[in-house]
Symmetry: C2
Subunit: 394 residues, 2 copies
C-alpha cells in the first residue's frame, strides 16, 4: 500500500501540462511560429545584466569552496539582513534578519509555512481564482482548503472571506498581483480583510496568519501599486521568489519572512524552520544566495510586459472579449464564450490558440492568457482570436 494522496498529486491530470504537450506536437507539425501558446508562465524577458555578470564574476574570482559550501539552513546571515532591511524600507512591517529564512523559491516557503502552521484538519482560506499548487501544499501539510469568492472584478472581498471563516481557520493565502487574474489587491481591500481577520481571532480566541505569496510584487503597471499585507496586518508571513523579477524561475531562490509583530513570532519561525528541515531543505542554492545579495532590488525590463499587456488588452477588447483589468503579473483572465472553460479551451486549439481553462484555478468560465511571450506572437495571434470569437458570436 502506498499513500493515495501522493500518488494522486503525482499522476493528476494537469490542463497546463496537457496544453504544453499539445503545443509541442503542433509546433513540430506546423512550425513554432504558427502556434499561439498563451499557456506558459515562464518569464520571457532575460535576467537583468547583474545576474549573469555576478555569477560569472563569482565563478571566476570567488573562492570555489566557499561559493559552493553549505550555508546555514536559514541562509547566509548577510543576505537575511539585506532582506529584512529591504522589507522594512518598502513596507510598514517590522522584520529582522532572525525572522528571515532563505528558501528554494516561494513554493518552498509556502510548503514550509503550511507544515509549520497547520495542526491536522485546520483550514486555510484561498481566494478564487487561485494558483492550483496552494491546494497541494495545504493538503500535503494535513490541512483543508476553504475557498472565498472574489468580487465581480476578481478583487479580494472581505465580506466573502468573513463568510467562510470558522474556528478552524489558521491562515489565508494572499497572492497579489494575482496568478491567474493579474488583479492587484488594493491597500483598502487588504485593510478591510485585516479587520475581518482580527474580529475572527477575537471571536474564536485563535491566531490567524496571512501567508502572502508575492513573486509578482514588482510586476505592477500604470497607476497600480503593490500593497504589502503587513501594512494592514501584523500576523503576516511573506513568501517571495526572485523568479519573476530576476527572470530565473528555474534557479529556486527566494525567502520567507515572519513579521516580528506576529503572534508567537519566535515559535512560528522555529516551527516553519523545523518544517523546512523535515521537508528536506538543507539550504537554498548557495551561489544563488550570493547572487541575490548583489542583485536585490534589481529587475529585468518589466516595462516590456506592460507593453505586451496593453497590446493584448486592446486587441481583445476590440474583438469583444471581456476580462478583469490586469494591473500586474503577466496574466489576463478572459471570460470564456461558453460556460464550460475546458470546452472553450478545446475549441481554441482548433485555431492553434493555447489558453488555460480556469477550472484549474478553482473557478469556472474563464481562460488564462499569459503575456510573457514574444510581441510578435501576440500580434500574429489576433486573427485567430477573432476567428475563435466569431465561432460563438457570429
Amino acid at each position: 500500500m502506498l499513500p493515495q494522496n501522493t500518488i494522486g498529486w503525482g499522476t493528476a491530470r494537469s490542463a497546463i501540462r496537457e496544453l504544453f504537450e499539445f503545443g509541442n506536437k503542433r509546433r513540430a507539425a506546423i512550425g513554432a511560429e504558427n502556434v499561439f501558446d498563451f499557456s506558459i508562465g515562464n518569464p520571457s524577458i532575460p535576467a537583468p545584466a547583474c545576474v549573469d555578470e555576478t555569477l560569472r564574476e563569482l565563478y571566476s574570482t570567488g573562492d570555489s569552496l566557499l561559493l559552493h559550501s553549505y550555508t546555514s539552513s536559514a541562509g547566509n546571515p548577510s543576505l537575511r539582513k539585506k532582506v529584512a532591511e529591504f522589507l522594512n524600507s518598502t513596507s510598514k512591517g517590522q522584520f529582522e534578519a532572525e525572522g528571515v529564512y532563505i528558501t528554494c523559491g516561494s513554493a518552498a516557503g509556502l510548503a514550509s509555512s503550511m507544515n509549520g502552521l497547520l495542526m491536522p484538519g485546520e483550514e486555510v482560506i484561498l481566494i478564487a481564482p487561485y494558483f492550483p499548487e496552494y491546494k497541494v501544499f495545504v493538503e500535503g501539510a494535513g490541512g483543508k482548503i476553504v475557498v472565498a469568492q472574489p468580487d465581480e472584478n476578481m478583487m479580494l472581498s472581505a465580506e466573502n472571506i468573513a463568510k467562510v471563516i470558522t474556528e478552524k481557520t489558521k491562515a489565508v493565502i494572499i497572492n497579489s498581483p494575482n496568478n491567474p487574474s493579474g488583479v492587484v489587491f488594493t491597500a483598502e481591500k487588504l485593510a478591510e480583510m485585516a479587520d475581518v481577520l482580527r474580529a475572527a481571532e477575537k471571536k474564536y480566541g485563535n491566531n490567524i496568519y496571512i501567508v502572502s505569496d508575492e513573486p509578482y510584487r514588482e510586476l505592477c503597471y500604470g497607476d497600480a501599486k503593490f500593497a504589502p499585507c503587513q501594512d494592514a496586518y501584523e500576523n503576516t508571513i511573506v513568501c517571495y521568489s526572485f523568479s519573476k523579477c530576476l527572470s530565473l524561475p528555474g534557479e529556486r531562490i527566494g525567502y520567507l519572512a515572519v513579521d516580528k509583530r506576529a503572534a508567537d513570532y519566535e515559535k512560528v519561525f522555529a516551527s516553519v524552520a523545523g518544517a523546512a528541515r523535515a521537508l528536506g531543505y538543507v539550504c537554498a542554492p548557495s551561489s544563488m544566495q550570493f547572487m541575490a545579495e548583489k542583485c536585490i532590488g534589481a529587475t529585468s525590463d518589466i516595462a516590456q510586459y506592460e507593453i505586451n499587456r496593453d497590446i493584448l488588452c486592446s486587441g481583445l477588447q476590440k474583438i469583444g472579449y471581456e476580462f478583469a483589468k490586469p494591473d500586474g503579473a503577466f496574466y489576463l483572465f478572459v471570460k470564456a464564450l461558453e460556460p464550460d472553460a475546458q470546452a472553450f479551451s478545446d475549441k481554441a486549439k482548433e485555431f492553434e490558440l493555447l489558453l488555460v481553462p480556469s477550472d484549474t484555478f478553482g473557478v469556472g468560465g474563464y481562460v488564462r492568457l499569459s503575456y510573457c511571450v514574444s510581441r510578435e506572437m501576440i500580434e500574429k495571434s489576433m486573427p485567430a482570436l477573432k476567428k475563435l470569437y466569431d465561432c460563438y458570436k457570429k
Copy 2:
C-alpha cells in the same frame, strides 16, 4: 496552537551546531590556526575544474532565458537519461530516464521517498550509527524509526535487521560509505540483508524498499569498493547527491532513481514525485542541472581525503585510540575514552579539539572526526589528541 513536532525540529539542540559556535568563539579568541575543528562535514577539496568552467561557459555563451527557466519537475530529460545510463553502467540495476527524478540534493530525495512511501505509523529501519536527519525525514512523513544495531565493526548486520523487522516495516535506509563511521558495506553483507528482506516480504505479504543514500559513493579508499544495493535487491530507490564528489553541497543538486524491477515501480515513482510536489520542490536548480549533465562522472581530487585518512588513522593508532576501519566517506568513528560521549567531547574542548559526540548518531560511546580538513590541521592536532588521551590513560 502550532505543531509540536515542527517546533521541536526547529529548536532542537544540535551538538554539531553547538560545536560550530564554540569553534567560532575560540577561533576569534586564539586564532583559527589553534583550533582543531573535526566537527564539519563540508568538502575541503575544491570542485573539479569542469564545474566552474562549465558554469562560466553557461553564463557567458548560454541562452540566459533557457538556462534559468523552469525545467520539468522531474528534471531535464537529457540529464535524467544520462543518470539512468550511468547507473546501468555501474550496477546490475535496471534504470530508465522515466524512473529518475532530479532533486535538490539527496535530502530532498530522502524526504520525498519517505513521504511517497509511508502510510501513517509504518516503520523505517535505520542502521546505527546513522545520519540524524533520517529520523526527522521519517517522522516528518508520519513514519516511525526502528534502529538495527551494526556488528562490532560497525558493519551492516543482516541478523540484527531480522530482529527488528515487523509487519509494519516499509523501508530500510542504507548509507554506505557511512556517515558517521566511514564503513563501506560489502556486497556480501548487502546480499545477506536482501535475503532477510525477501523472507520478511513473503512472511508479511508486504513490499519492503531499500532507500540507499549514496552521497559518498565515490569516496572509497584502498581496496574498498562501493557495492550498489540494487545488485542485491530489486526494490531499491537510489538517492544521490553531487555534493561530495563535485564538492558543491550548497548547490543542492542530486537525484532519486527507482529501479524499474521494483514492486509497483510506476506507482512508487508517481507517489514519490507527488510527494516532491507537495513538499514544494518545483524543480532542481536549473543551471546546476545543465552543469551536472556536463560533469557527471567527474570527481574532485578524492585521493587527498585518502591521504588525510591515513595520516589521521596512523596518528590516532600510535597514541592508542580505537576506531572502526574507515574505508570511505571522510569520517572516522573513534571510541570515546569514557562511556559518556558528550562528556568526552566536552573534555576534548579543553584542548581545542572539536569532536562530535556519537549520541547524535544513535549510539553512545564514540566521537566522529571529519577529515575533510586541512592536512596542516591534522598534523598540528596530534599533540592535543595525545594530551586528551593522557587525561584518561595516564
